[in-house]
């Protein structure tokens, strides 16, 4: 073992001790390269999900059924853009630029949450996204508020506050629809039918099949297993659905007195893989919309840069 290796080992040991002592890792701190890469992948995926997630909701912004709902939805989507911005900044502390991250998104190298490859087909979908998708996101994110990487943990704390607000707004839409006309109740049920299983998939593969989980747990990026988080979400959500008078589309769903949890059916992982692979109804549209916005906006960004350069130049000459 040479000196460099030894030094590296010592650093790694110190790093692990620090993490286990529940101290935050900050951008200037030494960190294992794989830790950095794992965070970049996870955080940028998280950021991409926020901005791609604007699209399915934006799909109903021009058609929101009241001015109040339109206002709330617009503010919500704006929050998501803000989260995206905040997360891109947090990720940049790891030494990658926003442009590089966009490049990875647009080339398909970086992923975003596959949930956004499903279409929003009626207004209740906006409720379902707030209630279920944001609900699942919060369940994940609460655990991340104690993530070992400081900037990520702090971003999560801020984001969680807004997300729980969004979730309540989504639930409010569902409630209004579920208590509404026959057609509204049907829309609400239809939305729940379509979003339930994809939402459960958001927690990732079952623990037995989750290769990266162990390392992330050890590094305290992750605090709870996929299955634990999923169970937590199901336990919280089932009573909410009952309160709405809606039926969760799962025959196997039942309270288990022994476990003190709800049992639920097996997730169709083939569908999950198919959608990730590109067979979701909206994979192409979502990515294309982002690419179009970026490529179509290049001339605007170029103009802003050119103007800034001219202005600086004039200032320099005047000085």
């Amino acid at each position: 073992m040479d000196v460099i290796d030894q030094e590296h080992d010592e650093l790694e040991t110190a790093f692990q001790a620090k993490v286990e002592a529940e101290q935050r890792i900050e951008p200037k701190d030494w960190m294992p390269e794989k830790y950095r890469q794992t965070l970049i992948r996870q955080m940028s995926q998280h950021a991409h999900s926020e901005i791609v997630g604007m699209l399915p909701e934006g799909n109903w912004l021009t058609r929101a059924p009241s001015l109040k709902r339109k206002t709330i939805l617009m503010a919500k989507i704006q929050d998501e853009g803000g989260h995206g911005l905040y997360l891109y900044s947090a990720t940049e502390t790891l030494g990658i630029s926003r442009d590089e991250m966009f490049e990875q998104l647009h080339s398909g190298k970086a992923k975003y949450s596959s949930i956004f490859n499903y279409p929003t087909l009626n207004w209740a979908d906006i409720g379902a996204i707030g209630w279920l998708v944001d609900g699942a996101a919060i369940t994940n994110q609460i655990a991340l508020c104690r993530c070992s990487y400081g900037p990520y943990a702090r971003a999560m704390i801020r984001i969680c506050k807004e997300e729980s607000f969004h979730q309540r707004q989504g639930y409010d839409i569902m409630m209004t629809m579920a208590q509404g006309t026959k057609e509204q109740r049907e829309m609400a049920q239809d939305a729940l039918n379509r979003w339930w299983w994809p939402t459960l998939m958001m927690f990732g593969p079952n623990d037995a099949n989750s290769a990266n989980s162990a390392q992330s747990m050890k590094w305290r990026i992750k605090r709870q297993s996929n299955d634990d988080l999923r169970q937590k979400f199901v336990d919280a959500t089932v009573p909410q659905a009952e309160f709405l008078g809606l039926t969760i589309p799962d025959d196997k769903l039942a309270w288990n007195d022994v476990r003190g949890h709800y049992d639920f059916g097996e997730i169709d992982w083939e569908e999950f893989k198919a959608v990730v692979k590109g067979n979701g109804l909206c994979n192409r549209e979502r990515l294309q919309a982002r690419v179009d916005a970026h490529d179509g906006g290049k001339w605007v960004r170029d103009a802003a840069l050119a103007y800034a350069a001219k202005k600086a130049d004039r200032k320099a000459k005047a000085a």
């Binding site: 901005i51 604007m54 699209l55 934006g58 912004l61 021009t62 058609r63 929101a64 059924p65 009241s66 001015l67 109040k68 709902r69 339109k70 206002t71 617009m74 503010a75 989507i77 704006q78 853009g81 803000g82 995206g84 911005l85 891109y88 207004w123 839409i173 209004t176 509404g180 006309t181 057609e183 509204q184 919309a289 179009d292 916005a293 970026h294 179509g296 906006g297 290049k298 001339w299 605007v300 960004r301 170029d302 103009a303 802003a304 050119a306 103007y307 001219k310």
Partner: protein, 252 residues
């Protein structure tokens, strides 16, 4: 037209301007040239929506027929809308959106400055509150006119083209009709015709800084106050009003 009818109509004009432009900005959502601009456009859209809701609610109360903001927003067809033709024009590219925004921001700023002194406290209050927002809108759009005009060759060409394309929609902003005259006499409304020179000064200044050419006044169109709109409004309404029209018994 009774005084009540005229106040109703006047408030509709204000509310419809804000709502239609807000709706157009909503179309940008998720598609702006950069994330910061996505946030800015939704910000402005939210302000406009907020204005629209205050004006339409007030209009409904003045009318006294039980129509609330949503009834007015979702159950009127083209000929009953009072927004300026400029505002219903399609977004086009970012240059066209910004040119439309800039012309209107510059106008609305002056209009609301006047309305903030309305003899009607409620109207004055809405205007005063909104004026703070519009101050930001105007700075934002003027900054973009300058950046695009004095940016690259492409951006210069695009923004100049957008300005040329929209120029003929602007005279309508400064028209005074019988309702405007009565509302002005009443102390309720504003003399928009009188705003033109101030608007010109401001706009000319920004265009000059942006190295852009003020177009000649070669054409102009009008008619929105009599419900004579362009063909674009019908499509906007069909989309915006779909849900309440399709499910008239539903509450949302």
């Amino acid at each position: 037209m009774t005084d009540k009818d005229m106040r109703f109509d006047y408030l509709l004009r204000l509310g419809d301007n804000s709502l239609i432009l807000g709706q157009r900005l909503a179309e940008w959502c998720g598609h702006a040239p950069m994330l910061e601009e996505d946030l800015a456009l939704t910000n402005i859209g939210l302000d406009l929506l907020g204005q629209a809701r205050m004006f339409l609610s007030y209009a409904g109360e003045v009318e006294g027929k039980g129509r609330d903001e949503d009834r007015l927003a979702y159950f009127r067809d083209t000929k009953d809308w009072r927004n300026l033709l400029l505002l219903e024009q399609p977004n086009g590219d970012f240059a066209k959106t910004m040119a439309r925004q800039f012309f209107f921001d510059a106008f609305q700023y002056l209009q609301f400055e006047g309305l903030a002194k309305s003899s009607d406290d409620r109207l004055a209050g809405i205007a005063a509150k909104s004026l703070k927002e519009i101050t930001y809108h105007r700075r934002h759009s003027a900054d973009w006119i300058i950046r695009l005009g004095d940016g690259t060759d492409e951006s210069h060409e695009r923004i100049q083209g957008a300005i040329d394309d929209l120029w003929g929609y602007l005279p309508e902003m400064f028209d005074m009709d019988a309702v405007d005259d009565a509302m002005l006499a009443d102390g309720f409304g504003v003399d928009v015709a009188a705003l033109r020179p101030v608007w010109d000064d401001y706009v000319n200044g920004v265009l000059a800084e942006a190295t852009l050419i003020r177009p000649a006044d070669s054409w102009s169109v009008r008619g929105s106050r009599e419900g004579k709109h362009s063909e674009h409004l019908g499509y906007l309404l069909a989309e915006m009003q779909f849900l309440p029209r399709a499910y008239p018994d539903a509450k949302w």
